[in-house]
């Protein structure tokens, strides 16, 4: 197993974030990790990437114990956080060198991978531009390729499609599939359920720090009458009539089709 979390618990003060979570992932598996806001996804990711110690439980990555060998664990992980800042006073080339060297990559290999990555992600012409001038999507590309520079056996992606355009998103989805085909494990956290459905082999649904579902995409789909991951997620985590709520909200804006007529002459509700 590449990832083994056994009965992991973590609390922030009196508030529990994870309550006895157990997760395992094999080489070549793309694992979708889903949950509503505050479910404990980011806490799991931090514990898995050895940047946070659990209160209880055992965490093993690539056979290494995260508590006793955090540096060893970090060297086997490529991590793209959900909200990540970059050193914007650096160029993508400088930042890539910085990350690659801390992973102790051979200089020639690092330069070769850096060149290839910059070209493939469309950043070749911007390789010597300060990242302060980059768009959100360009910065996300830098985060993604620098996380993969050392070709890690485990890739942790937390909302990796943030800010990416459609083409870059397609590229990333293909990269994930090909990494998995070559035996890399991908731990994929996202709120985009349709993407998870397409990209992942297995799905875990988390709520209030507890695992509610863990199985293949088909297994989890079968938990809902609608036969979709979206349906299963909604049934398990909220049991809310979203259609009814949406209707109520739109109703609160004005009276059905009349408001469209009003808007042609003036905006309703204005003096």
């Amino acid at each position: 197993m590449i990832i083994e979390l056994e009965n992991v618990s973590k609390s922030y003060g009196p508030k529990p974030a994870l309550r006895g979570v157990s997760v395992a992932a094999a080489p070549g598996e793309v694992l979708g990790y889903l949950g509503p806001n505050g479910a404990g996804k980011t806490t799991t990711v931090k514990i898995l990437s050895a940047t946070l110690r659990p209160d209880a439980g055992r965490v093993t990555v690539c056979g290494l114990d995260a508590a006793s060998d955090p540096v060893g664990v970090k060297s086997r992980i490529g991590y793209v956080p959900e909200v990540a800042a970059l050193y914007e006073s650096m160029t993508p080339t400088e930042y890539g060198r910085f990350v690659g060297r801390l992973h102790r990559l051979d200089e020639a290999l690092l330069e070769r991978r850096l060149d290839t990555s910059l070209e493939i992600f469309g950043l070749g012409p911007n390789r010597h531009d300060l990242m302060a001038t980059f768009s959100k999507g360009m910065k996300q590309k830098v985060l993604i390729f620098t996380a993969l520079l050392h070709n890690p056996p485990l890739v942790i992606l937390d909302e990796p499609l943030n800010g990416l355009d459609a083409n870059a998103a397609l590229l990333l989805k293909d990269i994930i599939a090909r990494l998995a085909a070559r035996g890399r494990t991908v731990f994929y956290c996202s709120h985009l359920l349709d993407v998870v459905e397409k990209v992942c082999d297995r799905v875990i649904i988390l709520k209030e720090g507890r695992v509610l579902a863990d199985g293949t995409v088909d297994d989890v789909r079968a938990l809902s009458e609608s036969g979709s991951i979206e349906g299963a997620f909604s049934d398990l985590t909220s049991n809310t009539d979203w259609g009814g709520l949406a209707e109520e909200f739109v109703d609160s804006l004005g009276d059905s089709a009349d408001s469209l007529g009003d808007s042609l002459g003036g905006i309703e509700g204005r003096p």
């Binding site: 990437s49 050895a50 940047t51 946070l52 110690r53 955090p70 540096v71 060893g72 970090k74 060297s75 992980i77 991590y79 956080p81 990540a84 800042a85 970059l86 050193y87 914007e88 006073s89 650096m90 160029t91 080339t93 400088e94 060198r97 910085f98 990350v99 060297r101 801390l102 992973h103 102790r104 911007n126 390789r127 010597h128 531009d129 300060l130 302060a132 001038t133 959100k136």
Partner: protein, 532 residues
């Protein structure tokens, strides 16, 4: 029909703008990715300007005439207003992202302009009060003794009114310069220009404080109102107006005329800039052209790297060297600190030829170095410091050594060279550089010790002030070491071979120190990253 001005929208925009400006969170509100500022920094800034104006006014109160007093306090107020307008007020009020936040809302350009202009005037009022309150009160006492209690009671209000006019004049001139620069330069160049302007002004203020006695003597022709020099110095227009209105010596009707004409001349372009702020914002947004950096380390840096930087220190060396040169926040804090001893050296070089004096100056410069090192963990892009938690930084000790060498390369070496050149000119072509080298090697001991005490990776934390109790220990230790070194330096420099031998021994000691350190790991950084 489209309304030109909407009072309700104006009120909403003004309330939101004032709240964001006064709490210092405007940057955060408009730029989610930006570093943002907290309100305490604005309060600190206000306290700083109030304290500085109080110190200057107190210094002048006993030694200057009423005319000189007002001229210098008005000058200081105008210089501070200029830095505030260019550095913060304009940066906040004319933030390009303002357009992104409110641009799509159905608010007329005129309503937006009136709100923005009111906000600027309110900010200037607060600034004027901070900078002129103490001088106005003290000037009231001066006017009472010169013209009686009635005029003495009125004087502070006249000074505050003149101070506000001077602030409006300064803001007008600065905003015209600001808008011109914003249109001509790229964002990076523009921010760089503002940074160096801020550093220059900080040093100018220090220079003014160091030489206030000489300046008072030299300013007689400006402040007595008799010569035409008054025309050349805008602060004299406003200080002279106060004197003229209160019937005190030094004020002429010409001063009032200059002040009135100057104010109108500055206000017209100020209005034009404010009216055209939409296009200025668009220009600023559009000017975010890519700023390019060098593709590889320069020749000098490459040479230094080859000679002194080990392979495992290279990452930290390049990372720190890049940020020492490019991190705006660090430069803004560190450069004025280093400027103080340089300024003192420049001023003093022309006054003394005593070797003891020069050596003391060298060690004064060294004393500032640990303080600059203390700023190293803080940076504008501190949020990017998460990367240190996520990466397998197994030997933080090597990172500290690499960072130290970058500090030597970027900060200490240029200072050392500057000292060597200055001392070779003013002391002796042989002894001067040797003295500079000795002080450089001495400074390296203290800087090295300070680096061992750093508890975070460079540029990975938000600046919340330097830990003073930690720093006091280093400063005390530095003083003891530097006193001993200065004594050694002075007593051994009489014999050239002995002096050169001592320098060689110190260099050897550093080599041994680096060798010992390279076998150690600094224990201060938690491998889990939670201690960052």
């Amino acid at each position: 029909m489209k309304r030109l001005f909407d009072m309700s929208q104006y009120g909403t925009l003004l309330a939101a703008g004032l709240r964001l400006s006064l709490t210092g969170s405007r940057g955060e509100a408009t730029d989610q990715a930006g570093a943002g500022e907290d309100g305490s920094r604005h309060l600190l800034g206000a306290a700083y300007s109030l304290t500085l104006s109080t110190i200057v006014a107190a210094l002048l109160f006993t030694s200057a005439s009423p005319g000189q007093f007002l001229f210098f306090t008005t000058s200081l107020s105008m210089v501070f207003t200029a830095t505030a307008v260019i550095g913060e007020l304009a940066g906040g009020l004319f933030h390009p992202l303002d357009l992104a936040v409110t641009g799509h809302l159905p608010v007329s350009g005129f309503t937006r302009f009136v709100a923005r202009f009111t906000e600027l005037v309110a900010a200037l009022l607060v600034l004027t009060l901070n900078l002129n309150l103490t001088p106005a009160i003290l000037f009231g006492f001066m006017a009472t003794s010169a013209s009686g209690p009635l005029l003495g009671a009125a004087a502070p209000f006249v000074v505050l009114a003149a101070g506000f006019c001077a602030a409006l004049f300064t803001a007008g001139v600065c905003l015209v310069v600001y808008s011109l620069l914003a249109r001509v330069l790229t964002t990076a160049q523009f921010q760089g220009a503002l940074l160096y302007l801020n550093i220059f002004v900080s040093l100018a203020i220090l220079g003014l404080l160091c030489n206030i006695g000489r300046l008072i003597k030299a300013s007689a022709t400006v402040t007595d109102g008799a010569g035409g020099d008054q025309l050349l110095f805008p602060p004299a227009w406003f200080s002279g107006s106060v004197l003229a209105l209160l019937g005190l010596p030094g004020g002429t009707s010409a001063s009032v005329l200059f002040a009135a004409v100057g104010l109108c001349a500055a206000l017209l372009p100020l209005l034009a800039v404010a009216v055209g702020s939409e296009s200025l914002l668009s220009a600023l947004s559009g000017s975010r052209r890519a700023a390019r950096a060098k593709s590889a380390p320069g020749t000098m840096m490459g040479l230094f790297e080859k000679l002194f930087v080990r392979a495992d220190e290279k990452t930290a060396f390049e990372f720190t060297a890049v940020h020492l040169a490019r991190d705006r926040g660090f430069r803004l804090k560190a450069y004025p600190i280093l400027g103080v001893p340089i300024l003192m050296m420049v001023i003093s070089l022309f006054e003394s030829k005593d070797p003891l004096f020069f050596i003391l100056l060298l060690y004064l410069m060294n004393l500032y170095l640990p303080l600059v090192v203390s700023f190293l963990p803080f940076g504008d892009h501190f949020r990017a410091g998460w990367i240190f938690d996520a990466l397998p930084a197994e030997r933080p000790g090597s990172f500290a050594r690499g960072a130290e060498k970058a500090f030597v390369y970027r900060i200490m070496l240029p200072l050392g060279l500057l000292n060597a050149v200055a001392l070779s000119v003013f002391l002796s072509p042989v002894a001067g550089p040797l003295h500079a080298l000795f002080a450089f090697l001495g400074g390296l001991f203290v800087v090295g010790a300070r680096f061992r005490k750093l508890v975070a990776y460079p540029f990975s934390r938000e600046f919340r002030g330097v830990v003073t109790n930690d720093f006091t220990g280093v400063l005390f230790g530095s003083l003891v070491i530097f006193t001993a070194l200065a004594w050694f330096q002075l007593s051994t420099s009489r014999s050239l071979p002995l002096f050169v031998g001592l320098i060689a021994a110190m260099a050897l000691l550093h080599k041994v120190r680096y060798r010992v350190l390279s076998r150690q790991c600094a224990p201060t950084v938690d491998p889990h990253g939670e201690g960052r």
